[in-house]
């Protein structure tokens, strides 16, 4: 067994196990906390779960009425979030990887779109790092989690880009991976991300909806559009 066999086999299994168990444990530990006091007063307006979900989704749209920070600071997080999603779900070799694991597949996006998305995402993540290093507020509130998470998110992108030397159709046509070492490194960087996921702020992927719904309900019952 070489490094790629390890990365594709036991290490991937282990990383997925840590990811699933860690995320599950973290969510369970939140759920087992004592519940907040139920609302004591009747709501000004009925505000149900569907309203809360709707409010959570509309919170994705930038809010008006606030001091305009630099446009780039507001736009940048959209860029790397969308970019990461496009790269993971749209690149043909990634879809093949998911199909090998789960049997699920879907049509891939053209390679050119992927290259553009990857380039934009890399630039966007570098900009995010620059903001965090240079903005007084971000410097003040940043913790080790922020630096580790940035690094661990960036690594799969860089190691993945290092692998791209031919069209994805050609890559998938090979019976065996031709760059076994670099591919192993790329997979290991993904596994590192999976292992770190439950311990740091990447968990916001799972917390964003309940957190927004909680606030939307708090305000919504009072008749306040949040």
């Amino acid at each position: 067994m070489d490094l790629l066999d390890w990365a594709r086999g036991p290490l991937l299994t282990g990383a997925i196990a840590v990811f699933v168990a860690g995320v599950g444990w973290r969510l369970f530990c939140l759920w087992r906390m004592p519940p907040a006091h139920g609302p004591g007063a009747p709501a000004r307006h009925a505000f149900g779960v569907i309203d809360a979900v709707a409010a959570s989704l509309t919170r994705m749209v930038p809010r008006g009425g606030f001091r305009p920070s630099a446009t780039l600071v507001t736009v940048n997080p959209y860029l790397f979030h969308v970019g990461l999603a496009v790269i993971f779900f749209g690149y043909a070799p990634h879809i093949a990887f998911v199909r090998r694991l789960t049997g699920l597949s879907w049509p891939a996006l053209p390679d050119m779109v992927m290259y553009l998305a990857a380039a934009l995402t890399i630039v966007s993540l570098l900009m995010a790092l620059l903001f965090r290093l240079s903005d007084a507020v971000l410097k003040k509130i940043s913790s080790a989690d922020d630096w580790i998470t940035w690094t661990i998110t960036f690594l799969p992108l860089i190691t993945g880009m290092a692998l791209v030397s031919e069209p994805s159709a050609a890559t998938l046509a090979h019976e065996q991976a031709i760059y076994r070492g670099p591919l192993a490194i790329h997979l290991l960087s993904l596994e590192l991300l999976l292992v770190w996921f439950p311990f740091g702020k990447l968990m916001h992927a799972f917390l964003v909806l309940p957190s927004r719904m909680q606030l939307a309900t708090f305000f919504g019952r009072r008749g306040v559009h949040s």
Binding site: L30, G40, A41, F66, V137, M203, S211, L215, H225
Partner: protein, 443 residues
């Protein structure tokens, strides 16, 4: 008419509040232990979710008047929850045993440093939550921090003094039933009927120390409107104070006691409605947080007076005569009343009925800027320069409307506006919703 001498006397009294405080002699270890005990007890599922969801994006700073006024990164709202976050990480989070290896425990020096952050530099206005992409209720976390600091004997001396007075003597700034009666007698001498301690009434009116001492016109205006509507109402000596210094200082015990006084009196007279004065924080404290002893919802309706008059005008029960045509006014939403209370449409309905030109600030309603003096910040002497930085944002916002009058429906905001106006020689007129409506009651 506001008596400027009383206003200055009130400011002078605030200067002397620290001398009246009786801080508990606690060791550093006791302070940390007490603070952590509160933090642990208050970290429920909702707060834990809020603490864990923060991604440190810093957007909340965009919304914070204290950060925007100073550009000091220490005032970033997210950072105000750091101590709470650390205690949760170490003691109640999913990976607490691991977190303890990397997360330092909180210290008394940090608690002392956080006193400024959560009392002076936060009015719990909740504007930060409106912009937070994760939807975190930062104001709630700040309130828990206040409770922790109060328990650790580290609340600002001014708030500690007033809270101790309200808990001990049952008065606020020396105002109790005797002072209330004196004010009511003065208003009665003007021909205004004000029922006091009626054994039964449909409506219990609540007042507040600032109205009893300074904004007596607001109390008189409310009485005139209630009388004009022919309603069966009363004030109660044993439950007239809407201000809740337990809530503001961080003492949950006192907060509940102050609320209970109002609830017990309303129950005793069989009130169907409790009308709160123009006092921002009193509204969410009773309307949204108030409960019976057994936890059941209150069996009576709670209305802010500006909400009440707006509702009466909208329903057609209360008519007002047209006011000065061409006068341009703007309305300042008190954070606790609007963003935390949902009272936004009714005061506007009342003002629009007065026939003047109502111009909105930008932004407005639930996104409105705080005036900087809420949640007890107005009483903290050392916070005056910081408060003024926040006030400057508010002042510019009002100036940009071109209005000659800013109308408020919170006595705390009104005090802060008056102090800011005096400091800046600001000529914009400051008025109250209920007083403006009462001035235009039909003869």
């Amino acid at each position: 008419m506001i008596d400027r001498d009383v206003f200055h006397g009130f400011l002078e009294a605030i200067h002397h509040l620290p001398e009246m405080a009786q801080p508990a002699p606690l060791s550093d270890d006791e302070r940390v232990s007490r603070a952590k005990s509160v933090m642990r007890a208050k970290t429920d599922r909702g707060l834990a979710l809020d603490l864990e969801a923060c991604v440190h994006c810093g957007y909340c700073s965009e919304a914070c008047h204290f950060y925007q006024g100073t550009q000091d990164p220490r005032y970033s709202p997210s950072r105000k929850l750091d101590l709470l976050r650390r205690v949760h990480a170490r003691e109640s989070s999913a990976f607490a045993p691991l977190q303890r290896l990397f997360t330092p425990d909180i210290t008394v020096a940090e608690l002392q440093a956080w006193q400024e952050l959560v009392y002076d530099a936060c009015t719990e206005c909740g504007r930060c939550s409106m912009i937070c992409p994760m939807g975190i209720n930062i104001a709630r976390g700040v309130n828990v921090m206040r409770e922790a600091l109060f328990e650790a004997g580290l609340a600002p001396l001014e708030l500690m003094a007033v809270a101790q007075e309200q808990a001990g003597r049952g008065t606020v700034f020396g105002v109790g039933p005797a002072e209330l009666k004196r004010t009511l007698d003065a208003l009665r001498a003007q021909g205004i009927a004000i029922p006091l301690d009626e054994p039964k009434a449909d409506i219990m009116l609540v007042s507040t120390v600032i109205d009893v001492l300074l904004y007596q016109d607001a109390l008189a205006a409310t009485a005139r409107i209630l009388n004009h509507l022919g309603l069966n109402w009363t004030l109660r000596s044993a439950g007239f104070e809407a201000a809740n210094f337990g809530l503001l200082s961080g003492s949950e015990t006192l907060q509940k006691a102050a609320t209970k006084r109002l609830v017990d009196e309303a129950l005793a007279i069989g009130a169907r409605t409790v009308i709160l004065p123009e006092c921002g924080h009193a509204y969410p404290a009773l309307r949204w947080e108030g409960r019976l002893d057994n936890g059941d919802p209150l069996p009576f309706e709670v209305l802010a007076v500006s909400e009440f008059v707006g509702r009466e005008i909208t329903s057609g029960r209360l008519h007002v005569t047209p006011g000065e045509q061409g006068r341009k006014i703007t309305y300042h939403d008190a954070c606790k009343l609007a963003r935390h209370g949902g009272v936004m449409d009714e005061p506007r309905a009342a003002l629009k009925a007065l026939g003047m030109e109502l111009t909105e600030t930008t932004p407005t309603a639930e996104k409105n800027w705080c005036c900087g003096g809420g949640a007890g910040a107005f009483l903290i002497n050392r916070a005056a320069p910081l408060r003024h930085k926040a006030w400057e944002i508010k002042r510019r916002q009002i100036d940009d409307t071109g209005a000659d009058t800013v109308v408020v429906s919170c006595a705390s905001c009104r005090l802060n506006f008056m102090a800011g106006a005096e400091a800046d020689q600001w000529s914009t007129r400051i008025d109250s919703v209920v007083e403006m409506v009462a001035r235009q009651l039909p003869a």
